[in-house]
Symmetry: C2
Amino acid sequence: MSTASNPNSNSNIAKTPAPPYYAVIFTSERTDGDNGYDKMADRMVELAAEQPGYLGNESVRDSNGVGITVSYWESLESIKNWKENPLHLAAQRKGQTDWYQSYAVRITRVERQYFL
Amino acid sequence: MSTASNPNSNSNIAKTPAPPYYAVIFTSERTDGDNGYDKMADRMVELAAEQPGYLGNESVRDSNGVGITVSYWESLESIKNWKENPLHLAAQRKGQTDWYQSYAVRITRVERQYFL
């Protein structure tokens, strides 16, 4: 196991640097139907990756519509800037009205990590 | 939206208290086949919930075998105690040899949260 950056070169697991850095844990329950969700979700993943301070992303959704997405960031400021991005704000509003039954957003500071 | 504890009473989303508290983000890629995994995974969820300082759990795995489990804890000490639980240590060893192609464990401090 390694405590520094992720040694796996071909993986769904984000290749994060040594801590400290920040993680946003987004846990959600989707409403029924697509309603434009998939296209917007793909666009948001692309757009997030273009933002200053972006370090990586991990995302899983199961067949019951429960999902966890974790995005990794260099700083709280980079998270705040992404939260306030105009296209992202529009997506957040659609999320609240159309796409999610419920969600939790948790802003966290990564203290330690290890990898297999 | 609420910034305090999760208002959703019937949900897959953990009912965490107001921050600060701690989150362990476990992202993993399974090997093929069950090999006793499902039974042990259920047992570990039950056992974790019995530990001092446990606050909740969220877990998703998709059809490709990629999973994210986040467990929530009162303190770093409660996380350390759970990591060193003998039954959990045995499960961790099986995870490294049999169940996971790769994983990341990230120990984080939750600074802020909000809910829909």
